[in-house]
């Protein structure tokens, strides 16, 4: 775990900036579902959990790139779509960490608020990897 995240930060975002950015860079389950229905070519949904978890269940249409493999698999990700990362739930930091890495590499990113837990809670479609 990267405990350097607890180190003091020098940058600051004002409240208005932070909240505007939150609206821009956090997708809600409803927002993502709407985009997938109306403009699916605009997004790539990226599940950053481990493979076993992905195989068990994932957001339908999602690609699995475990958080530990993001850096080595950048070339397989599109720069002409918004990459929407997700992990387990609202307390899982894997998805925002992956989003930060991707943003630093020039990808358009969002992360899914609430992860797969909230997605399922809303009754939105999931899939299993075929055996």
């Amino acid at each position: 775990m990267d405990l350097s995240l607890f180190a003091p930060k020098t940058h600051t975002l004002g409240a208005a900036e932070y909240l505007r950015a939150k609206l821009e860079y956090e997708a809600t389950p409803y927002g993502l579902m709407t985009t997938l229905e109306t403009e699916p070519e605009k997004v790539l949904v990226l599940d950053v959990r481990d493979r076993d978890a992905f195989d068990e269940e994932h957001i339908r249409g999602a690609l699995n790139v475990p958080a530990t493999e993001i850096v080595s698999r950048l070339s397989g990700l599109p720069k002409d779509r918004t990459v929407v990362t997700y992990c387990w739930d609202m307390t899982c930091a894997l998805a925002p960490k992956a989003a930060l890495e991707l943003a630093q590499k020039g990808f358009k990113v969002q992360f899914l608020a609430g992860g797969i837990a909230e997605w399922k809670h809303k009754g939105f479609p999931i899939a299993k990897t075929a055996a």
Binding site: L5, F6, E24, Y25, T28, T34, T82, P96
Partner: protein
């Protein structure tokens, strides 16, 4: 409600996710940090005294949100103050963190509050009954 937009600007996204990771923490991160370097962190339970007594994160100090302003002098500026409240629906820890940040404290907010902490089986401490209230 936020919608999925596609005109993201990379620099803003970097700022945003860096800030999110800097100012929010998860139950597993907090637990690990408390185990490794407890001297660098100061956990504040901003719920009412009765809720705190019934169960809180071990070592947390109880400062009900209405008392935050009066408690500034008792809070350390050389540690990161982590605020939490009941659960993910509680916005009080965010308000407390904002108050403290505006006063120059280093702050983080625990995502999911005590509910997500205890759901993972992490330790929860009760205040033992005492002749005098402890908080």
């Amino acid at each position: 409600m936020a919608t999925t937009r596609v005109k993201a600007r990379e620099t803003d996204a970097t700022d945003y996710f860096a800030a999110k990771l800097a100012y929010e923490t998860t139950p597993s991160e907090l637990k690990e940090w408390l185990e490794r370097t407890p001297g660098r962190i100061f956990v504040v339970d901003i719920r009412a005294c009765e809720a705190y007594d019934a169960g809180h994160i071990p070592g947390a100090r109880n400062i009900p949100i209405e008392d935050i302003v009066a408690a500034y002098a008792a809070l350390p500026k050389d540690r990161t103050v982590v605020t939490y409240c009941g659960d993910s629906a509680c916005g009080q820890s965010l308000k407390a963190a904002l108050e403290l940040a505006q006063k120059g404290f280093r702050v983080k907010r625990l995502l999911g509050g005590l509910a997500e902490w205890s759901r993972r089986g992490y330790p929860v401490e009760m205040t033992p009954p005492a002749p005098e209230p402890e908080c």
